[in-house]
């Protein structure tokens, strides 16, 4: 039997490595509907940040517009956040995270915000590999404007008013794979443990990490036959592996039979342990991930887990070869070149 262990630091049981309790990661009370999948995801963001010992002042929250995009107010009150424009959160996050490379970013979006109005910015975010955890709370419907189809709605889906959706849905994970995203995961708000472990893994990843989380809308799209409903998700969820994240310096032991699990070290030293379930699956094979998603669609399954992982690609911060001091914290003598340099410039144009 093999054992994966982290090292230990002594501390009180209810306090994490940065000296905070779980309640320090809470936000304002949610104004979303009771039972909304988004609330469950907010809880798991709180749990994941606590367990990963994220310093709240080193994390920034972003969102666009929609029910999903209201949720950053409902977690991590001690972190700064920016609720931007509909579909335009990726650009906001890109500028902010380049301006301060010491920040960790979490963006929360929805299926309308990402797959309809925002699909252009979404693809370019991934193409640039901006260091951001990008969570899509995917319910296939516009909740805030009372029940219109989104671009991820099932073909043939019936909404409250009775009309059927004639269009093929956008698969956010396949789009992310096509855009060469290095961390692509799907989960289900009804599987909180997996959601939490995926967020923890995403927090240790230094490029864009996409988490497409099926998050039922109890008001407008929770009919049992909808692939975005609780009932369908519970019946059809098929995790591709059992996942555990061991944060760096964390005291956790995971018992493993030899050959039954893969361990991947993330950028910050945390380790992701992927324990095999029924199927043979290699999350480093991008083509296999696309095939698997297409098979799952045909077989009417909700495949969940870390579909694709490639930690070798440089992030936008690496590509820009940015100074280690955040751009937003540079002193005036760095920001303004010396007078002698301007004399040379004037001479150049004389």
């Amino acid at each position: 039997m093999a054992t994966v262990t982290g090292t230990t630091l002594p501390r009180p049981a209810n306090v994490n490595l940065v000296g905070l309790e779980r309640t320090d990661y809470k936000g304002l009370p949610s104004t979303l509907c009771q039972g909304c999948g988004h609330n469950s995801i907010s809880s798991q963001i709180i749990a994941a940040c606590y367990e990963m010992s994220v310093a709240p002042e080193r994390l920034v929250k972003f969102s666009g517009i929609g029910c999903s995009s209201k949720s950053p107010a409902y977690f991590l009150s001690r972190s700064f956040g920016f609720n931007g424009l509909h579909g335009r959160m990726p650009s906001l996050a890109t500028g902010a995270l380049l301006a301060n490379r010491s920040m960790k970013g979490i963006g929360v979006s929805g299926d309308g915000d990402t797959a309809s109005i925002g699909i252009g910015q979404f693809i370019h975010l991934l193409r640039r590999n901006v260091p951001l955890v990008y969570i899509v709370e995917n319910n296939g419907v516009y909740g805030l404007t009372k029940g219109q189809f989104s671009a991820t709605a099932d073909k043939g889906a019936m909404l409250k008013k009775g009309e059927a959706n004639p269009f093929h849905p956008v698969d956010i994970c396949i789009e992310a794979l096509a855009a060469n995203c290095g961390f692509v995961a799907r989960s289900f708000a009804g599987d909180p443990r997996q959601v939490k472990e995926l967020i923890k893994a995403a927090l240790s990843f230094e490029g864009t990490a996409v988490l497409d989380i099926i998050s039922p809308c109890v008001t407008f799209n929770n009919r049992d036959e909808s692939t975005k409903s609780y009932a369908w998700g519970k019946q059809h969820e098929d995790p591709i592996h059992d996942m555990t994240v061991i944060p760096i310096r964390e005291e956790i032991e995971v018992e493993l039979e030899p050959g039954e699990a893969t361990t991947v070290e993330m950028h910050d030293g945390s380790r992701v342990v992927l324990k095999k379930l029924e199927r043979q699956y290699d999350p480093t094979d991008r083509m296999a991930a696309v095939t698997l998603l297409e098979q799952a669609r045909v077989n009417n399954e909700l495949l969940t887990g870390l579909l694709y992982l490639n930690p070798t690609q440089p992030s936008l911060v690496d590509i820009g070869n940015l100074a280690l001091t955040p751009l937003s914290e540079l002193a005036e003598d760095v920001l303004r070149p010396a007078p002698a340099t301007l004399e040379l410039i004037n001479a150049e144009f004389r």
Partner: protein, 421 residues
């Protein structure tokens, strides 16, 4: 070869015309440069750390000049690392979003575009105004509407930019007339944006931006940077209380904290939705009205910070001319000709909106004031009429809009004192 040609001409040709060539030193010490390069250099001496843009004529050479000069001027000597980031975005919407994200984070952040790009940026610019994020936007104007004449010059975005965004928005604008002023406003725009916590527009045009001009050399900024009202953790510890949109000094400018500030009081949530003084969501009528009143107060405060106009006088002048930007050389020449014809003029060259108090005084001083500009409807004249409604009738529009720079001859022909304008 040249010497032989010279000798041949001297022997064989007889001079019959009256023209002479004479050495002159009027360009001594001056530089030859385009406004876009000058604007980029000014931005660099203003400490720009982040720029996002999307290619568009006639603005592209401004961010391209950033990419040319930043590596020379702003790399860490020991590590070779960049103290700046320039991103070519996927469109102007993304360019605006990135610029705002970086400005909110605390970097000196800018973008450059032209009319069609501004149309795409409108939603984000409105958000930046309402959230109060300092950013600098260069509008190198071309002919519109529509795709218009992308390679011709115009001053047609004045009204559009002043109110860019839905709902109640008003923006601070600067109007450079020369490359030296592009350089100066390049750095000054950042001081203004951070002082006022709002988008600041620098209104250039194709003629200034893309053509070469003789210009005074660039002057190094003498003032230290104005980073505006920012509270760090020590400040908050001393003060003991913080609300992002509280008007402590009554000038409409609230204090801000930057992400990364570890003090428990520092955090606030930036939102485009209605908010109270503590940046919390609010639909209360008093909160909305109070916030808008403060924003308008802030725009009034801006009058004390923006560059004042330049005033030129001739003795005995009874009529006034108002211009801005690249109409300046034509106006200067027209004044010489008018004066020679017995019509002396006073001339005020606007350099900013909101208008400083000199502008009202200038209009009050003259019975007739011609506003010379390159758009169809006399956009600046309309804004001046709103500023000084009781003297609206004194303001006459001289609008020239063909895509070519206005000429002195056209101005002279259209300044007709005593006639209805």
């Amino acid at each position: 070869m040249i010497a032989r040609a010279h000798a041949w001409a001297e022997n064989q040709l007889t001079k019959r015309d009256p023209y002479m060539v004479q050495r002159d030193n009027q360009t001594e010490g001056m530089i030859l440069i385009d406004g876009n390069t000058a604007g980029a250099l000014g931005s660099i001496y203003g400490g720009v750390s982040f720029a996002a843009w999307y290619p568009i004529t006639p603005a592209s050479s401004l961010p391209e000049s950033l990419s040319e000069y930043l590596p020379q001027l702003r790399k860490e000597k020991d590590t070779g690392r960049a103290t700046y980031a320039v991103v070519q975005a996927e469109d102007e919407i993304a360019a605006a979003g990135m610029t705002i994200g970086a400005g909110w984070m605390g970097a000196r952040s800018m973008t450059a575009t032209s009319g069609p790009g501004l149309s795409l940026m409108a939603e984000y610019v409105g958000l930046a105004f309402f959230v109060e994020v300092p950013i600098v936007i260069w509008d190198v104007q071309r002919m519109g509407p529509g795709t218009g004449l992308p390679t011709r010059t115009s001053q047609g975005d004045v009204m559009f930019v002043r109110y860019l965004g839905h709902g109640d928005t008003k923006h601070v604008m600067l109007f450079p007339a020369t490359p030296a002023e592009c350089f100066e406003f390049g750095w000054r725009a950042f001081d203004l944006a951070e002082r006022l916590q709002t988008p600041v527009f620098v209104m250039s045009d194709l003629d200034l931006g893309m053509n070469y001009w003789m210009s005074d050399p660039f002057e190094y900024p003498e003032e230290p940077m104005d980073r505006g009202k920012v509270l760090d953790a020590d400040d908050l510890e001393q003060i003991g209380t913080f609300g992002r949109y509280r008007d402590i000094e009554g000038d409409g400018i609230a204090y801000r904290t930057l992400p990364g500030n570890p003090h428990p009081l520092a955090t606030w949530f930036a939102r485009g939705t209605g908010h109270n003084e503590n940046a919390l969501y609010s639909e209360r009528a008093e909160d909305w009205a109070g916030n808008m009143e403060r924003l308008w107060r802030k725009l009034d405060t801006a009058r004390d910070f923006v560059p004042r106009p330049v005033l030129f006088r001739q003795s005995g002048a009874r009529i006034g001319l108002i211009g801005y930007g690249t109409t300046d050389p034509a106006i200067q020449e027209a004044r010489d000709r008018l004066s020679a014809a017995g019509v002396p003029t006073n001339y005020l060259r606007l350099r900013s909106i909101p208008f400083t108090h000199d502008v009202r005084a200038f209009i009050e001083e003259h019975d007739e004031v011609y506003v010379i500009e390159m758009n169809t409807d006399g956009q600046m004249r309309q804004l001046l009429q709103l500023e000084v409604p009781e003297h609206a009738a004194r303001l006459r529009s001289l609008s020239y809009n063909t895509g070519l720079p206005v000429s002195a001859r056209w101005i002279v022909a259209n300044v007709r004192p005593g006639k209805e304008g």
